[in-house]
């Protein structure tokens, strides 16, 4: 025991990584690189380097805590292997028992948002009131201004919580759904044959 143990490395990046860890463990929502940089009083590039370091330490199967890039920021979450233990202790009201109507409404708001309740109703063919209220209560969507034009219906958009629950870095991660052009043509043809049969 001649030499004292050196538990704390003096590498400045490591020092910054520890600051980032501290900020993330206190945060209850993902922190952006910008927020981390401001809080750590360092520049964004070095924060990203530090995040890589933190990501290596807190990786799936390596640690019970996992660093993830989600909802436009960085956050700690529980490792997937620990889901069972977490499920026994914690409730997840935001995503529990999402109905088909709620999921469809959520999809419409996520893809077309900000959009109004009448917009949703027009696409789904039924009133969207209760589904919208349900999603609002869960915090998956939020009000985002009003429609211009007569009446000015309230518009809705998805929240960062939505991205977090669905594990999306951002809305741009949603899969493209524009390959349904063929569907439209097919549906039209079917409708037309039905119409012809009726008029005949």
């Amino acid at each position: 025991m001649d030499r004292p143990l050196r538990l704390i490395p003096t590498d400045p990046l490591d020092r910054l990584a520890r600051t980032v860890e501290a900020l993330l463990v206190v945060a209850s929502a993902p922190l952006s690189v910008q927020e981390l940089a401001e809080a750590a009083d360092d520049d964004a590039e070095r924060i990203e380097d530090a995040l890589r370091l933190v990501g290596e330490r807190f990786a799936e199967e390596r640690s019970g805590i996992v660093l993830e890039h989600v909802a436009g920021g960085w956050a700690f979450r529980a490792g997937r292997e620990e889901a069972g233990a977490c499920a026994r202790l914690f409730e997840r009201p935001a995503q529990r028992n999402l109905s088909q109507a709620a999921l469809e409404t959520l999809a419409i708001v996520a893809y077309l948002g900000p959009c109004t309740r009448p917009d949703v109703a027009r696409i789904r063919g039924v009133s969207a009131d209760s589904a919208v209220a349900n999603l609002l209560e869960r915090g998956l969507i939020a009000e985002a201004g009003r429609d211009t034009g007569a009446g000015g219906a309230v518009r809705y958009r998805t929240t960062p919580l939505f991205e977090r629950v669905f594990g999306l870095e951002s809305l741009s991660e949603l899969p493209r759904l524009d390959d349904v052009g063929a569907d439209a043509a097919e549906i039209r043809d079917r409708l037309q044959t039905v119409a012809e049969r009726r008029s005949a």
């Binding site: 209850s28 993830e68 956050a75 997840r92 999921l103 893809y111 669905f166 949603l174 349904v180 439209a184």
Partner: protein, 302 residues
């Protein structure tokens, strides 16, 4: 929306116009809204002639105005309430229709082919929404084992510089005004001037040198209450110094003051350095003290 029959023409509200007699006149209800100012029946007329767009009219404002009018009266005018309900319900229905154009009617106006096209477009759109929903559901079950902390983010408030730049010195000056000690309140008008106790000390010593005992009450009987208090303090002081003894037969009985022989043994241990045990000596110091104290007192209260 389908519950609102589109074939039924808008109600003219004619039935609702049946006179309400001496109660509140709903039609004369004065309105002060953003889009309209005037009596209620003028608003109705303008709306029915389509000269005023109902979409711009704040119907809640009309309800509020009516309720205020209703509250002014002591009894509930049921007839007026009924009339108002009919009218406002009609207006609400008209406004709702104006805000949400009837889609079935829109489709009905189209040519069959166009209608089919439109329907196909909508169905395709809905199919897309369903696919997106299915993707979300899959995603949810795939990401279901991700647990994370939730809660409002209590981020430190950002420093906002909405105020014009301020001079810190001005703030300092403002504070220094507050930090100054307030002027002392003068008590001169309620000065309590205690006659110095020392005056009575001398007086009683002189008295006891002439007589061996005296009656306190008789001695101070002609003095004011404050002087009597001072005199009594002097007696107590002398008693403490062992120069005299005090007797009282019963509470409120006359106080008898008698001289003590001091030469034999001073009641108080002699002050060190005091060679002669002269009776007044131990008191001299105290006398001065008291005099200073009383002087200080009278000065302060002056």
């Amino acid at each position: 929306m389908s519950g609102v029959g589109s074939t039924e023409p808008p109600r003219s509200g004619g039935a609702g116009f049946a006179g309400s007699g001496a109660g509140i006149s709903v039609r004369e209800l004065e309105l002060d809204l953003d889009a309209f100012e005037g009596p209620f029946d003028l608003l109705l007329a303008l709306v029915l002639k389509e000269e005023l767009d109902l979409r711009d009219v704040d119907l809640a404002g009309i309800v509020t105005a009516f309720l205020e009018r209703l509250a002014e009266r002591e009894e509930l005018d049921l007839e007026a309430c009924g009339e108002f309900l009919v009218l406002i319900a009609t207006l609400l229905e008209l406004k709702a229709r104006a805000l949400f154009p009837d889609e079935t009617a829109e489709l009905a106006e189209l040519e069959p082919e166009e209608a089919a096209e439109e329907l196909a477009r909508r169905l395709a759109e809905y199919r897309r929404a369903k696919e997106a929903a299915a993707w979300l559901r899959e995603r949810l079950s795939a990401e279901g084992d991700r647990y994370f902390r939730l809660g409002p983010a209590p981020l430190a408030p950002k420093v906002s510089t909405q105020l014009a730049p301020q001079d810190p010195e001005a703030l300092g000056q403002a504070l220094s005004v507050l930090a100054q000690e307030p002027p002392e309140v003068s008590l001169s008008h309620m000065a309590l001037r205690f006659p110095p106790v020392s005056q009575f000390l001398e007086r009683f010593r002189a008295l006891l040198s002439r007589r061996s005992k005296f009656d306190f009450d008789a001695e101070v009987g002609e003095l004011t209450r404050l002087e009597q208090a001072s005199a009594f303090l002097a007696v107590l002081e002398l008693r403490r110094a062992g120069e005299l003894a005090i007797e009282q037969a019963a509470p409120f009985a006359p106080i008898r003051v008698s001289r003590l022989k001091l030469e034999a043994s001073p009641a108080e241990p002699a002050t060190p350095g005091q060679k002669t045990a002269a009776p007044p000596a131990p008191l001299a110091q105290e006398n001065n003290d008291r005099e200073e104290r009383t002087a200080a007192w009278t000065v302060r209260s002056a």
